[in-house]
């Protein structure tokens, strides 16, 4: 038993082991982002659809489902961030003296700024949770935000989204964060296949295209909500 733990801890402390952790937790977050976006797009199907969806999430497994998801995602985020910061520190230490001239031949800006887009997104996640989950930035609770659907009292998610995004500054921050997420995903999704050892000579281009398409899909889908609120489509 202890030798298993010892070997595994040695594995995850190595550079490739940490990268595999980053890729695996990244995959969890990549899939979450898609599910989260599809759920939110229910706002376009009208208040009842998204309110019922929110209520379903809150009450699944007698209210336990949402906590299982939250704790799982929290663990994924913590491992993802801790491992990348540790790897970045090691890599900075690996080149103590900078070049006078260094020319990147093939790498893109999104790839070179992963740590910065990632850390900004971490700040965004904290803000986003305070905004719509904890709701201590603006008061989205109380009887003003209750709605009755099919005889059940539930939180008026639709109204919260519309009021939340009607502030131009808040919407601008969301859209900026989604642009950073686009860059983060366009490198991260295709990277995942490389780190998990799945890319091949023939599939590599496909994975790259999937990465860009996925990032674009998330960008367009997520930005459509604040833009629709600001344009008065959702009200």
């Amino acid at each position: 038993m202890s030798s298993v733990v010892e070997s595994l801890s040695c594995f995850v402390r190595s550079s490739i082991g940490k990268k595999i952790l980053v890729a695996a937790t990244g995959l969890v977050l990549v899939l979450f982002v898609l599910g989260h976006m599809i759920g939110n797009l229910l706002a376009f199907a009208g208040p009842d659809a998204i309110n019922a969806y929110g209520h379903l999430l809150q009450t699944s497994l007698h209210g336990g489902g949402v906590w299982i998801a939250r704790l799982g995602l929290l663990a994924a985020v913590v491992v993802h961030v801790v491992a990348t910061i540790s790897l970045t520190r090691q890599s900075r230490a690996a080149r103590p003296d900078a070049y006078g001239r260094q020319k990147a031949q093939v790498s893109g800006r999104a790839a070179r700024t992963m740590i910065w887009s990632g850390l900004t997104l971490l700040c965004f996640i904290v803000f986003h949770l305070m905004h719509f989950t904890v709701r201590n930035i603006e008061n989205f609770g109380g009887p003003d935000y209750e709605v009755v659907l099919d005889g059940e009292k539930m939180h008026n998610v639709y109204k919260m989204v519309v009021v939340g995004f009607s502030h131009v500054g808040v919407s601008a921050f969301y859209i900026l964060s989604m642009v950073l997420l686009y860059g983060h995903l366009s490198h991260g999704v295709s990277s995942l296949f490389q780190t998990l050892g799945l890319a091949t000579y023939r599939s590599e281009r496909i994975f790259k295209a999937i990465g860009h398409a996925y990032a674009l899909l998330i960008l367009v889908g997520n930005c459509s909500i604040p833009l629709a609120v600001l344009a008065g489509v959702l009200k």
């Binding site: 594995f11 790897l87 890599s91 103590p96 900078a98 093939v106 490389q194 780190t195």
Partner: protein, 262 residues
């Protein structure tokens, strides 16, 4: 033949001391000279004028030994693809160009002097696992072990690595993944490499980490800089082999390994 007048910015450094760029005017350089021959001409003139010549590594001067290094205008071995510094010719530069010449920079490659760095870290990674254990003495029969053409070709592609360190120099993280993946992958692909595959993979990666190289962030600057065009798919294979070896080390005992045949 035409002659070029060039402005060089050359890194000068003694081991353990801080370095600096020295401006050197390289006048009347024949455009058919190789980059190293240009350095020779510059050094002859420095010596004649009583100055310290620029130290740089070189050996075969035909692109196969991996000794020559130099970061030229921000790219290892200069701007031409699939070319070592000794194969780079001055006709790729223009009259009046400024050329930045620096050593390969990494913590694991300490500067010995000027443009020479100690690449002993690569040797220690090889010693950790980049070999197969065989009985020496009489040569075995050729083709005694059948190897598929595709496998032999792929292993040969990895074996083209000359261990120059351009991959480390080009990488934003000073990662040695392309070198290690080529050296491990070459043997891990072949039947002769199978008995020690896991041991080799784990040992080489651990030595790589110990030497203080960075990690791979999948930018593929290494592949673009590699004078032998080693593919980053070898890095994919190393990731895969390392994950499998790590899990087997953790969970598989000696007996089960024997059942599996490796």
């Amino acid at each position: 033949m035409s002659l070029l007048n060039l402005h060089l910015k050359v890194w000068r450094q003694h081991r353990g001391q801080p370095g600096h760029f020295q401006d050197i005017e390289a006048r009347e350089i024949p455009d058919h000279a190789s980059f190293l021959e240009m350095m020779d001409i510059v050094n002859e003139r420095l010596i004649t004028s009583g100055q310290d010549p620029v130290a740089f590594d070189h050996d075969c001067r035909e692109g196969i030994c991996g000794m020559c290094s130099m970061q030229i205008n921000g790219v290892p071995h200069g701007p031409e693809r699939a070319t070592t510094t000794c194969q780079l010719h001055m006709r790729h530069f223009r009259e009046g160009d400024t050329i930045w010449i620096e050593p390969f920079r990494a913590k694991a490659f300490p500067v010995v002097k000027d443009l020479m760095v100690d690449r002993g870290a690569f040797d220690r990674i090889q010693q950790a696992g980049g070999f197969i254990t065989v009985r020496t003495g009489s040569a075995p029969d050729a083709n005694a072990i059948p190897i598929g053409k595709e496998v032999a070709d792929a292993a040969m592609d990895a074996a083209a690595c000359i261990g120059c360190g351009a991959c480390v120099a080009a990488c934003k993280n000073a990662s040695a993944m392309l070198f290690v993946s080529a050296k491990a992958g070459q043997l891990n692909s072949l039947p002769q490499g199978q008995p020690e595959k896991d041991r080799r993979t784990l040992a080489m990666v651990r030595q790589m980490d110990k030497e203080g190289f960075g990690h791979c962030t999948n930018h593929y600057e290494c592949e673009a800089a590699c004078p032998k065009e080693i593919s980053v798919r070898w890095i994919t294979k190393l990731n895969r082999d390392y994950a499998a070896a790590g899990l087997r080390e953790a969970f598989v005992g000696r007996q089960e390994a024997a059942e599996g045949g490796d």
